[in-house]
Symmetry: C2
Subunit: 142 residues, 2 copies
DNA sequence: GCCGCCCGTCAACCTCTGTGTAGGATGACG
DNA sequence: CGTCATCCTACACAGAGGTTGACGGGCGGC
């Protein structure tokens, strides 16, 4: 159906995070912004160029230091980048996040990752129903 | 109690794996053996020298390629090296494994990682009881 | 229109990860 | 005791990982 496949490559996964995890006001983070935030917030340096290289698949084999820094910034466990099962699980949450933004919720922490499977499913369903109610004419969006 | 602390550094974690995950006949894997097994078994090359450097803390920032290869070899999820919570969880299993070896079980797959928390606790308890029964005079071992 | 700002892109460069190779220790075997 | 095998240790070097700096383009303000 509609749903985009779960991302496979590291680049895909990173891009999915950029696409989904946004700052207040729904603008995507820029590579520069992420690089600066990580370099300042954590004691790990990373260049915006390198982030770009990772996103475009030009570099595919980062060290654990950079990978953990990126994961920390986006609020996902490092395993998101490494374990495909974990990726699938967390993508559910990201999907949920995307849905909520569409429904008008602008900013929300990623801590929904800590909810149980059942709770997430329930919320997802609820969001979907509400969204259908509020956007009656729109068939196959998302 | 007796139990050694959960390993903190990458070197500690790796050493713990060497110490606990052994081949049939209970001999520890050598760095050379692991390097060869990985280079042959997976399509990832790694040198025994490098494994040594990681074990001794001389190198601390490997790439995800090598880290996943090592994790795959030892049969633990990559998160073992990265996520401290995951490390603690899996260390329970390793402890269990060590206990079973002491109790005479020489070789066992690490698949106990897939058991539930409760099942693992039950097995651990059972092993402890049996071991006490079979080694009455030994107070604070393990 | 022009200027300033910030973005993504690119190529050259530098650092550090990861390798090759060899020395010294230890134990098994004859 | 000598030889062989295999381990851990050491160190210098190749190359991949990561950075620096510059260029061109889109966008808003004066």
């Amino acid at each position: 159906m509609s749903a985009d496949e779960s991302p496979r490559t590291l680049a895909d996964k990173l891009n999915r995070l950029f696409q989904t995890v946004r700052r207040q006001g729904d603008a995507e983070y820029s590579n520069v912004a992420v690089a600066e935030a990580i370099s300042k917030g954590q004691d790990v340096q990373i260049s915006h160029t390198y982030i770009w290289q990772l996103r475009t698949g030009r570099r595919v084999n980062p060290t654990i230091m950079h990978l953990t820094a990126l994961a920390a910034f986006f609020g996902v466990p490092v395993a998101y980048f490494l374990d495909d099962a974990e990726t699938a699980r967390i993508d559910k949450d990201l999907e949920l996040l995307a849905g909520m933004r569409k429904a008008g919720v602008t900013h929300i922490a990623l801590r929904s990752a800590e909810l149980t499977q059942g709770s997430r499913a329930a919320i997802t369903e609820m969001v979907n129903q509400l969204w259908k109610l509020e956007n009656p004419s729109d068939e196959d969006a998302r």
